[in-house]
């Protein structure tokens, strides 16, 4: 904004600047009003367009919502205090099967995290701008990792189920591929932030590329790696519970069948197991993250 030169007469100046202020303020208000109108107009147009494209129908929704609540209510069978143990026992009739599926789910998540972190961690050095041997390697590795993590793990699961058949094996592979992509990217970003001084020192002492990574980079990046890995376990447990929807093993398979067959009490029992597990894993992982590496080094 340019400020006018002061005029000779003070009174005129005051009147002039007051009027000027009024005028500018009105112009500002008008401009703001137009911007706001444009924004809200555009926004409402977007909402309407989205509503039409996605066939949003309030009546179907209103008809469906009571049924949803009905489903959710049916998921918890009647439990009375006098027959508490028996009721719970009946609700959890399939506890052995479900706990076995749960164990599978957890082990799938664990194995996929380990494999994905090892491979993704190794690749992350090639995908870090400052550590990659040359630009082509860096670029190609970045794109590969991007594809691995942009394709959702359930799509990988569909592909692997086609080749490996139904079972936990394709689920592990699907989550592994996704983990490689995610860890590769996150670790590469950590790698790019390392201080170059220790690396220079190792090079000066005659170390080769591998020595630089082992003694220069790893000690600097390990805390962040650990925190990302604990966090990845959390996310992978969630993934492992749903890849079963397409036949890739784990508790998701039991959940999918029970909902498809409208066995609501079963679905409720399994969902409760899933929620408790996920909350426990979240709590444990957070504890590990903080205790193993200290709060200071846990940064995003």
């Amino acid at each position: 904004m340019n400020i006018r030169e002061p005029t000779a007469l003070a009174g005129a100046k005051e009147r002039g600047s007051a009027a000027q202020f009024e005028e500018r303020y009105l112009a500002f208000r008008r401009r703001k009003l137009i911007y706001n109108a444009l924004f809200w107009g555009g926004f409402i147009a977007c909402v309407i367009a989205a509503g039409i494209t996605a066939k949003f129908d309030v009546f179907t929704l209103l008809k469906g919502l009571p049924r949803t609540t009905e489903f959710l209510v049916k998921m918890v069978p009647p439990i009375t205090l006098s027959t508490f143990a028996a009721d719970i026992g009946e609700w959890y009739w399939g506890i052995d099967k479900w706990l076995n599926s749960l164990l599978n789910t957890l082990l799938m998540a664990y194995l996929a995290t380990v494999l994905g972190t090892i491979v993704g961690g190794a690749l992350s050095f090639l995908a870090a701008r400052n550590l990659a041997p040359n630009f082509l390697t860096y670029w190609a590795m970045r794109r590969t990792l991007e594809i691995a993590r942009t394709v959702p793990d359930i799509v990988w699961a569909l592909l692997f189920v086609m080749a490996f058949g139904i079972g936990p094996l394709p689920g592990v592979l699907a989550i592994t591929v996704h983990t490689i992509g995610a860890q590769g990217k996150l670790f590469a970003e950590v790698n790019e932030n390392v201080s170059p001084l220790p690396l220079d020192g190792i090079r000066a002492a005659g170390g080769n590329w591998l020595h630089e990574i082992r003694y220069g980079v790893i000690p600097q990046v390990m805390p962040n790696y650990m925190s990302y890995t604990f966090w990845r376990i959390e996310l992978n447990v969630r993934s492992a519970t749903i890849v079963g929807f397409v036949g890739a093993g784990g508790i998701g398979h039991d959940l999918f069948t029970s909902i498809q067959l409208l066995y609501f009490a079963d679905a409720g029992a399994i969902l409760l197991i899933v929620v408790v597990t996920i909350m426990l894993i979240d709590m444990l992982s957070e504890k590990f993250r903080h205790s193993a590496i200290g709060k200071a080094s846990f940064s995003h």
């Binding site: 494209t53 066939k55 359930i154 086609m162």
Partner: protein, 296 residues
């Protein structure tokens, strides 16, 4: 003190080692503990590999089959005659993500004030709202989608509802964290000027938290485009339905085209949303909600 390295004898070093063992290496007990940790982890990994059949012939057979699928049946992508259909359904996917995020944000907005410690003085109400949000959030999109598909039928409406429900949970958490982090002074100022509860929210709270809320909402929209692209696998509308359909029918080349289109869409949306977010709140836009930064 002037000690030259060349003057040091082995005896000196041994004496020092005796005096300060922790400088020369970690104590045996600690080392043993970390070895046990790594060894246990490795053993568990081996057991898992065995349990899930990585050492069996099935694995080699499957790997061969997968290699063959990728090498000979996935490329090059075909089905360009269906491109208009694919693009239309991708539009539906984006619309689902948009409406789901919007609905979630609308419902979460009032709830987030209930869930904030500095706004809601009634502790059980605040705590209860938080836990309720956690509960909604702890089920994956696909689980909600599965339930809604059974309750309101196949189609994008089920997907919109699934996204909206999870997003209520996420937004209540993110919004209330933003509200709890706000600067008390502005609110005190409004109170001192005689403002009531509504004034405090309108002039003290909202101007501080709205940019953060908008940025979080945009970020989740970006994330939900990814989620919406798979909800169709359980019949909840969007491109996932076509993708699963083509894969199950072994029309891999067409599936490949769909996957490429989805990747391009995700990139475009990420780019747009990042641009908008940077405009909205400048430097803060680069700080993404913690829970989801790794999911991308």
């Amino acid at each position: 003190m002037n000690v030259r390295l060349a003057d040091l004898t082995d005896a000196d070093i041994a004496a020092e080692r005796e005096l300060y063992p922790h400088v020369f290496g970690r104590p045996i007990a600690q080392r043993l503990k970390s070895w046990l940790g790594w060894g246990g982890g490795a053993a568990l990994t081996l057991y898992c590999l065995y349990r899930f059949g990585f050492f069996s012939g099935d694995f080699l057979h499957g790997a061969g089959k997968f290699g063959q699928l990728v090498a000979s049946q996935l490329f090059p992508p075909t089905g360009y005659e269906n491109l208009p259909l694919f693009i239309k359904v991708i539009g539906e996917t984006i619309a689902m993500a948009f409406l789901g995020t919007l609905l979630g944000a609308l419902f979460a907005f009032p709830l987030s004030f209930l869930a904030s410690k500095n706004i809601t003085r009634l502790r059980p109400l605040q705590f209860g709202t938080r836990r309720f949000a956690d509960l909604l959030r702890s089920f994956d999109y696909l689980i909600w989608a599965l339930i809604f598909v059974r309750a309101i039928g196949l189609g994008p409406l089920a997907g919109i509802m699934a996204i909206a429900i999870v997003e209520i949970g996420t937004f209540v958490k993110l919004y209330s964290e933003a509200i709890e982090n706000l600067d008390r002074k502005q609110i005190d100022g409004v109170t001192a000027a005689g403002g009531n509860w509504l004034h405090r929210i309108g002039f003290g709270v909202l101007p501080q938290v709205l940019p953060m809320m908008l940025s979080n909402t945009l970020y989740m929209f970006e994330h939900n485009v990814r989620s919406a692209s798979i909800l169709g696998i359980v019949g909840a509308g969007g491109i996932g339905f076509l993708l699963a359909d083509r894969l199950r029918a072994y029309e891999l080349q067409e599936a490949c085209l769909i996957i490429i289109l989805v990747i391009l869409t995700v990139y475009a949306i990420d780019y747009l949303s990042k641009m908008l977010r940077e405009r909205l709140i400048g430097d803060h836009a680069r700080r993404e909600p913690v829970d989801d930064a790794a999911q991308t």
